[in-house]
Symmetry: C2
Subunit: 184 residues, 2 copies
Amino acid sequence: MTDLKKFEEVTISSEKIFQGKIISLQVDQVRLPNGSVASREIVKHPGAVAVIPLLGDKMIVVEQYRKPLERSQVEIPAGKLDSGEEPLKAALRELEEETGYRTEQIRLVSSFSTSPGFADEIIHLYLAEELVKGTANPDEDEFLDCEAITLEQAQQYIQEGRISDAKTIMAVYAWQLYRLTGRI
Amino acid sequence: MTDLKKFEEVTISSEKIFQGKIISLQVDQVRLPNGSVASREIVKHPGAVAVIPLLGDKMIVVEQYRKPLERSQVEIPAGKLDSGEEPLKAALRELEEETGYRTEQIRLVSSFSTSPGFADEIIHLYLAEELVKGTANPDEDEFLDCEAITLEQAQQYIQEGRISDAKTIMAVYAWQLYRLTGRI
């Protein structure tokens, strides 16, 4: 049995610093295993979904501006969970809103934390196949372009820095492994 | 030529909310491509390094408590950049501090953003081979166990949730691709 509490840092106090529309921030004082006290800056996030949408020998990606990076980026379709929303439902919603595609052929690849040192964000990553074209319908404050790219183009985009986020690089690796082994 | 400013969100104003020891938080008001105004909650982070340390048919990983997730996690060695520190130097430093291993055989796999929607954190991911045993020397407030695991164990850890962060899952995919194709 795995000990998920190994080296546990017990909360002594927690100060709420900020409550935003998407994230919140708190600073916890914790007791370390040696008894000393340390502070932990923690960003709370509602969680997100992302989808690897495969269409024949291509993957559907979206290009959008990422303010924290101050540049536009090519990424797999993704978005925050709405309050109480089931991740699979959110994945199908984001896929259709951002790309116009629907599917009944979708499964979870993994659920991972993006920045376990300072944030609790979890992304649920899905593989979607057998895509059927519908109509894209981005949120009104969402500006994005949609494109279908080959594995070679995806690798080129990584080289060029047009693809540079963890979930999309992970998706490209997973796609390549799926091609090579038939499994993700 | 790639247009890195496509759909640019121009800053109207920026409010500093918090300056911590590791992260800071600001809220920017931005003008969207359609002229309307939106707010962006942005976490600033100094950047980090992570290392895929391969020793024969095993990878060296560390187990530590992750307060934002409230559980201990198995991850590849990683750490924040010190102020002004060159990423390669930081990667060699973290590798030795956390695992005791040194190497002269190290190269960059990719530099990726962990959460481009709300944070500017970049992780520089390195592949380290030809490891030479020295002495581990974690920071004084760092409590961790070090372990060498096979690819099959790593995949098992992902199934069990003991490995669940983006950089380590990416590392396992990259390691598997390296085995299959001789390249990362």
